[in-house]
């Protein structure tokens, strides 16, 4: 009896061990290779994305469209949420990444591509080149191979304002930077601070800098700075910082003053503009501000809130700084390739566009598909911009450009605290950049 128990215990232990070892070798079924017919492709494919809640329902609708075209492929969507960078890093480190994933930082994509973790998607190059602007193809190219394309875009060159406050102060949406700054004085005199700044989230500050820099220094310099071919101590950077200081240094004109701004997170920076009484007149942030306004305030489009394009500085042409989620492929299979091709198509994008809350950089998506005029305006500006550039901080090594409390995020917060120290802060940025690029 006792002996039997020992055998039983040993058997149970072995079973446990076997189960533990078996967990790692799970593999997705591979489909029959080649073949033109959609039904000939079978297997399963997983997509890991940042979208949760209503956005998760929307991506699911897009994937349902894929399932209709490829009935024999199982598509599974994993919602990783805001932690996607961490979840992906852990999955890759553990050797078990998803087939496809979305990443918001081209810098991270380049790191993964150079480390050999990503599979090139050159097979879809024709589809992508036909549907997207060249700048987006360039963006997805690392060392001559295409690794990603921008699926969901964000237009970061927008300013959102409280319409009654603008009417009360008698100011119009400005077209030039000078008008913008003059408006700020008028708004202040009317009793409402002009700016709401979400300084607790460093990325709102880098977004503001990028919009100023691309207008004062031009897209070529922007690319050089993004690649760290010019130092952050360059005069062009200092000039842009000085322009930025005209906003950040106007302490009386910022809701809550400098200290208040440093503790204001992005959602609050939006809601306080549309609160009653309003704490500020306008917030400089991307098109996703609209979602925050609709979800968290009572303001209605056009009568309560509206947007204008980031004003031109020194006659700069129409420029859009943007961001967004890019699709990358970790594991190659016919099913994964089919999904990449599908997501790059206008049909896939149109499904989400009609559901709202989605700006497609795909230029073959009809602008009539957008459900409301404000979204149509920002999305069209994104897809048809004369010059589109990706968010500069997202192009940096993540330790420098994408980490909370470090690098650019932290240094721009320091700049917000002391906007007079242009020379000092640009030197600190250069030091941090050197260190981050050195570690790559």
């Amino acid at each position: 009896m006792r002996r039997r128990f020992v055998y039983f215990a040993l058997a149970a232990l072995l079973a446990l061990l076997a189960a533990a070892c078996g967990g790692g070798s799970e593999s997705s079924a591979t489909g029959t290779s080649g073949g033109g017919n959609n039904e000939s492709i079978s297997g399963s494919v997983s997509l890991m994305g940042i979208w949760v809640g209503t956005e998760q329902q929307s991506i699911q609708a897009v994937l349902d469209g894929f399932k209709e075209q490829y009935p024999n492929v199982d598509v599974k969507y994993n919602a990783a949420g805001d932690n996607i960078v961490t979840v992906l890093a852990t999955a890759v480190q553990g050797g078990n990444p998803p087939d496809l994933a979305t990443i918001a930082q081209p810098g991270t994509i380049a790191e993964y591509a150079r480390a050999g973790e990503l599979q090139p998607i050159d097979f879809a190059k024709d589809t992508i080149a036909a549907n997207y602007d060249d700048s987006i193809v360039d963006l997805g190219t690392v060392d001559g191979k295409l690794y990603s394309f921008l699926f969901k875009g964000a237009n970061k060159s927008t300013v959102w304002y409280n319409v009654p406050v603008f009417n009360d102060a008698g100011v119009d949406p400005p077209e030039t930077w000078d008008d913008f700054l003059a408006n700020a004085d008028t708004l202040k005199a009317s009793g409402v601070p002009a700016y709401s700044i979400g300084g607790a989230d460093g990325w709102t500050l880098t977004d503001l800098f990028e919009n100023i820099y691309i207008r004062t220094a031009g897209p070529e310099m922007y690319d050089k700075l993004a690649a760290h071919e010019i130092p952050w101590t360059d005069q062009s950077v200092k000039d842009a910082l000085s322009e930025m200081a005209k906003v950040l240094g106007d302490t009386d004109n910022i809701a809550g003053g400098t200290q208040g701004a440093l503790q204001t997170d992005f959602p609050t920076s939006v809601t306080q503009v549309f609160a009653d009484p309003p704490k500020a007149a306008q917030v400089i942030e991307a098109d996703f501000v609209a979602g925050e306004i609709v979800n968290s305030t009572k303001a209605k489009p056009e009568t309560g809130f509206n947007e204008f394009a980031f004003p031109s500085i020194n006659d700069s042409p129409q420029l859009v700084v943007g961001g967004g989620d890019q699709v990358v492929m970790f594991k190659d299979s016919p099913a994964a390739e089919a999904l990449v091709e599908y997501l790059a198509s206008p049909e896939a994008a149109a499904i989400w566009v009609k559901r709202g809350g989605f700006s497609s950089p795909n230029k073959n998506v009809s602008e009539d598909d957008y459900p409301d005029p404000i979204l149509k305006a920002t999305a069209t500006a994104l897809a048809s911009a004369e010059t589109f550039r990706f968010d500069l901080s997202d192009l940096q090594p993540s330790a420098f450009g994408g980490t909370v409390g470090q690098g650019l995020f932290k240094l721009f917060q320091d700049f917000l605290a002391d906007p007079n120290d242009v020379d000092g802060i640009s030197q600190k940025m250069e030091d941090a950049a050197k260190k981050a690029y050195g570690n790559q």
């Binding site: 009360d168 102060a169 005199a189 009317s190 300084g199 607790a200």
Partner: protein
């Protein structure tokens, strides 16, 4: 520990020392009983520990051996040194403060009625997860008194002593008005009888202007009087500062002061619905006209609890709030076990309550106090969740502690698993001696 003593016993009772096969069987049984625990310990503790130590000698992506570089970075990078310093503050302040507070509560609750209710309230925070408690505290710590409960409380008390002015946000519209150090606004030019005073103010929201306000009118000069107007010097588009224009409303009910050349207040007047006011019977000489500081008294702006300077003390307060209940319950249990006779004897011998407490109660409680202190010491070294929950992102560097630094380095976007592992190993080494002391104490108590 308990497993070892349990398996050591049966052979003594059952197996004869000479029977070799029986002994083998005993070992097999011992192994079978230990195996599940050993397996889980191995997979979730031993293996990750060894792997982490090895990983800490490799670089970011784990392919290149970097020796002790990660450990060098650990002690040279500003953010990590800051984390170590903060952790030192935690270790010095928190275990002592919590133990002292717990002792105080425990002794006091022995003497009050409703002790159970009081203890329940103090112990309640332990039932809440540290993260949830952290989120709650973060909301209470908000600077804006409209949002943060603590600043709202301070603001309410302050408001009683120095009420907010009716035009707290207002500012002069032109250089004609000067802001005095006291906060009062006065006209820069001295006035004489027969002059007109124009006090234009801006930065007043249109909704803040009282409904009875009427169109401002530029006052006429009258001999022997100083006439003037206080008005909202703003119309849509801005208007011309310093000039009374159409669409600009007077500010009713504002107290205007007339001061002589010595700065003494001679007369005050209240503005009418159109903002006009008059000082009659003004004698010879220079006067200044202005609006007193109380009109512009700022509302309480709130203490910056979550700012870079106060963040660590703020988090420590919330942590003490959570753990004081735990300390109180453990110490109260120890207190109940003390023999009353020793206390009675001390009192009979003429000791004061103070002496009884320090010379009789505390020495008998010493073992319990040590347990509480060491438990907190280990917890404080590993403190993580509440720091993450309370500190806003902009001050995470200032609030950083070792465990948070480890998490941020490995998973917070830096993705430097090598450096992260080095921080984890460092933290482990810090906890190790305390664990050793704890185990030795435990053994000694079991032996006794």
């Amino acid at each position: 520990m308990s497993g070892a003593s349990a398996t050591a016993e049966p052979p003594v009772r059952e197996a004869p020392p000479s029977a070799e096969p029986g002994k083998w069987r005993q070992y097999a049984i011992a192994a079978a009983f230990l195996a599940p625990a050993a397996f889980f310990l191995g997979v979730w503790i031993i293996y990750p520990m060894i792997k982490t130590i090895i990983r800490s000698f490799y670089g970011r992506d784990g392919s290149d051996f970097v020796g002790i570089d990660n450990y060098r970075t650990l002690f040279s990078s500003d953010t990590l040194v800051r984390a170590i310093e903060n952790n030192a503050i935690w270790v010095i302040v928190v275990p002592a403060a919590v133990t002292a507070l717990g002792l105080l509560y425990a002794v006091l609750t022995e003497r009050i009625r409703w002790a159970v209710a009081f203890k329940t309230v103090v112990f309640m925070p332990m039932a809440v997860s540290a993260f949830a408690a952290g989120v709650t505290w973060r909301i209470m710590y908000q600077q804006e008194p409209d949002r943060g409960a603590i600043n709202a409380g301070i603001g309410a008390v302050k408001g009683v002593f120095s009420p907010t002015g009716v035009l707290s946000e207002a500012a002069p519209s032109s250089d004609a008005l000067e802001q005095q150090p006291s906060g009062a606004l006065t006209l820069a030019q001295p006035l004489q009888a027969g002059d007109v005073a124009l006090l234009g103010l801006t930065r007043i929201r249109s909704e803040e202007v009282p409904e009875i306000a009427q169109q401002a009118v530029e006052p006429e000069s009258k001999p022997g009087e100083i006439t003037g107007v206080v008005w909202r010097d703003f119309k849509p588009g801005g208007g011309t500062p310093g000039k009374v224009e159409q669409e600009e409303l007077g500010l009713p009910g504002v107290t205007v002061e007339l001061r002589d050349s010595n700065g003494e207040a001679v007369e005050t007047a209240k503005t009418a619905d159109d903002g006009s006011f008059t000082f009659r019977d003004v004698s010879q000489g220079d006067y200044t006209v202005g609006i007193g500081a109380s009109t512009f008294a700022q509302p309480f702006g709130g203490v910056s609890w979550l700012g870079s300077k106060l963040i660590t003390p703020s988090i420590i307060i919330s942590y003490i709030w959570i753990w004081a209940g735990f300390a109180m319950v453990v110490i109260a249990a120890g207190l109940a076990a003390i023999s009353r006779e020793t206390l009675e004897a001390a009192r009979t011998d003429g000791a004061t309550e103070w002496q009884v407490f320090w010379r009789v109660t505390v020495p008998q409680l010493w073992p319990v106090l040590t347990v509480v202190f060491i438990t907190l010491l280990i917890n404080v070294l590993k403190v993580f969740d509440i720091v993450l929950a309370v500190a806003p992102q902009s001050v995470q560097d200032d609030a950083n502690v070792i465990a948070l630094a480890m998490w941020r380095t490995s998973f917070g976007g830096v993705s430097d698993f090598g450096l992260g592992s080095a921080i984890a190993v460092f933290l482990f080494l810090l906890v190790l001696p305390i664990l050793a002391i704890q185990i030795r104490r435990f053994r000694r108590e079991q032996g006794a």
